[in-house]
């Protein structure tokens, strides 16, 4: 127990925890959206994220950038970052769509029991991560130094880096955009309708399959963006990078109330913060223990998450 550490470094821990939490939040959105509509844990979502991180690295590789190259001039950096985010989001989105088409849609046609979906999800996750693992010889791959971490501003002993600001700002923009999309647009209304009652929505003329594809696509886009943020923050990726991060993100989604978009954000940030506080208190090896204990305690008092389940309404 290192209470001094925690008290002394509270500021920096919070700043870095918020950034980490923002990544979890973006990642958790994919779980929560799919769950809200299909009542299904999309186990393959962690691999969608991992594929996004490789997509960005390969894109930068085209321009001759690898972990050993020098930092390019600022104007080019902006171009590279934007390009990386776009490509990662696109590839992740496409991967999520393919998973939906190959692994889930045939099962829906067969009217399969819910557990069957979980198992094909596990199968899809295995296929993607192993395919990437074989292709990359199970090595990790480093990130080109596009953004040199520098202190943007300082409050007391808290140095907030430009990277943390970038991550948090981008997440905020995506969240607000998504919230507007779900609550204000026609397509968003379709998503909410299917989440409430798939059959009634279908009777009212909502194209169910299209809505489901759309949900997977959005989740994939968010995961792709989260992947690039993760690359900048952590610096490497690997074929199995998605798995442990996916568990944390899924925990975040459950903590906030699965199926609830704002819940995913709240859950993500709580998990990010507690991971950092926990590692300061008990050592970094135990940070997941802290996460899960927090989860269990919160679920004991609020059995359907902090904000409750609601993409459309709470489950009966």
């Amino acid at each position: 127990m290192h209470f001094d550490d925690l008290a002394h470094n509270w500021g920096p821990l919070t700043a870095s925890g918020l950034a980490q939490g923002a990544i979890y939040a973006l990642f958790a959105l994919g779980y929560t959206l799919v769950y809200g509509v299909l009542r299904l844990i999309n186990f393959a979502h962690s691999e969608v994220f991992m594929v996004g991180s490789y997509a960005a690295l390969i894109t930068w590789g085209f321009f001759g950038l690898d972990e050993n190259s020098a930092t390019p001039p600022t104007t080019e950096v902006i171009g590279y970052v934007v390009l990386g985010v776009l490509v990662a989001a696109a590839i992740s989105g496409i991967t999520a769509l393919v998973v939906e088409l190959v692994a889930y849609r045939p099962l829906r046609r067969h009217n399969a029991p819910p557990l069957a979906f979980l198992i094909t999800a596990i199968g899809a996750s295995l296929v993607i991560s192993e395919a990437v693992g074989v292709a990359t010889h199970r090595n990790q791959r480093g990130v080109p130094p596009l953004i040199q971490p520098a202190d943007a501003f300082t409050i007391g002993n808290t140095h907030v880096t430009n990277l943390e600001i970038l991550i948090i700002l981008l997440t905020l923009v995506m969240m607000v955009g998504l919230d507007r999309f779900i609550n204000r647009t026609r397509l968003g209304r379709g998503i909410r309708a299917v989440a409430q009652s798939p059959d009634t929505a279908a009777l009212m003329g909502v194209n169910k399959d299209r809505v489901i594809s759309l949900v997977f696509l959005i989740g994939g886009l968010m995961a792709g963006i989260a992947a690039v943020m993760y690359l900048f923050k952590i610096g490497t990726t690997r074929y199995d990078a998605g798995f442990s991060l996916g568990i944390a993100a899924f925990t975040a989604a459950v903590l906030g109330g699965i199926g609830n978009l704002r819940g995913a954000v709240v859950g993500g940030i709580i998990i990010g913060l507690f991971e950092n506080y926990g590692s300061a208190l008990f050592g970094s090896n135990y940070r997941n223990v802290v996460t899960f204990v927090v989860l269990i305690v919160i679920l004991m008092f609020r059995p359907s998450g902090i904000l409750g389940e609601a993409l459309g309404r709470a489950r009966a």
């Binding site: 769950y35 844990i41 186990f43 190959v102 692994a103 045939p106 099962l107 829906r108 046609r109 067969h110 009217n111 399969a112 029991p113 557990l115 069957a116 979980l118 198992i119 094909t120 596990i122 199968g123 899809a124 996750s125 295995l126 296929v127 192993e130 395919a131 074989v134 059959d199 279908a202 009777l203 798995f243 568990i247 899924f250 925990t251 459950v254 699965i258 050592g283 090896n285 135990y286 997941n288 223990v289 996460t291 899960f292 204990v293 989860l295 269990i296 679920l299 004991m300 059995p303 359907s304 998450g305």
Partner: protein
Amino acid sequence: MTTVQTILRWRGPDGGVRGWFGRQPRLVRWTLLAAIAAGAYALPYVGEVPVIGPQIVTEGVDWRTALFNISYFVLLALGLNVVVGFAGLLDLGYVGFFAVGAYTVALLASPNSDFKTNWPWLATVPVAIVITMISGVLLGWPTLRLRGDYLAIVTLGFAEIIRIFAENTTLLRGDRGFSGIPHPPGKHADGTPIFGVRDAGPYYWLGVSLIIVIVLAIRNLDRSRVGRSWLAIREDEDAAAIMGVRTFKYKLWAFAIGACVGGLGGVMFAGQNGFMNSASFQIQFSVLILAGVVMGGSGNIAGAILGGALISYIPDRLRGVEIAGQDAFQYRFLMFGIAIILIMIFRPQGLIPSRRRAMELKDRAKEVAPQ
């Protein structure tokens, strides 16, 4: 309809092999089951069978070791089937109980342990069973009020916590692990131990015997008041509670029994390997067992056995095989993933579906509007 046609019709409510089997007199049924069990005991010698034998035997892995692996995977699948298949509780952290069982043996029996008790393997078995059951109850007590996916993530967290403690505490020795864990007792006439290091055959036979005992116990449990309560809870927990089923108590029972079988798997694992460390208890392992249970046919004992055997056999069989000049070993999980997806698409109820569940699902399909 001729007998041949009857046998060929695999599906159908009363037809097919299983319907035919159910209509036989008790003596015939037990004789057939005994023959199947005898076949299982004879599996180590399957390599001697001409033509078919060499196709079955694993090439890259010692066949008897592969069989032993199958036996403890089947044991775990049977235990998880009680939790997931019978009671309908989604448990993603089953490896946690496997770990508790294995670590209990290691702590009590290994010379590396801080306890310095150096018990023989056999003496640790009852202790390990009791401790895993207690761990099942301890996990279940606060969490079984949660439903569905909330329970899934909490059980997953439990297994992760156990793994993290195994990795980081000095008591559990992290990846240095425990070595010199004693093997099961028994000596041949010439004084060499039956359960040695080289030959995994005896461990496999021990595993099969355990499986038979567990299958009989679980089957009887499933047909008792407890089993009917599980069925009711699985189908509709609220309705079951209203009808007077004490849902919490029976869910806790399912957890404790599942945990105890999982712990037994861990005990076997530790007793055969003689060495274990924290790397043996990854989360992926629980996911694999769950895939086996559902793939085989959730809620069905024969299905769980088949599924558990397949998840161990397929990757082992692919080891050392060359396809188009490349070692299939590194593609084994890739192919395994594809196999899982295909099986679930073509047989969403599992390879050997539970008949009771199939009827329930048919019943439910009537309520749902056509898609």
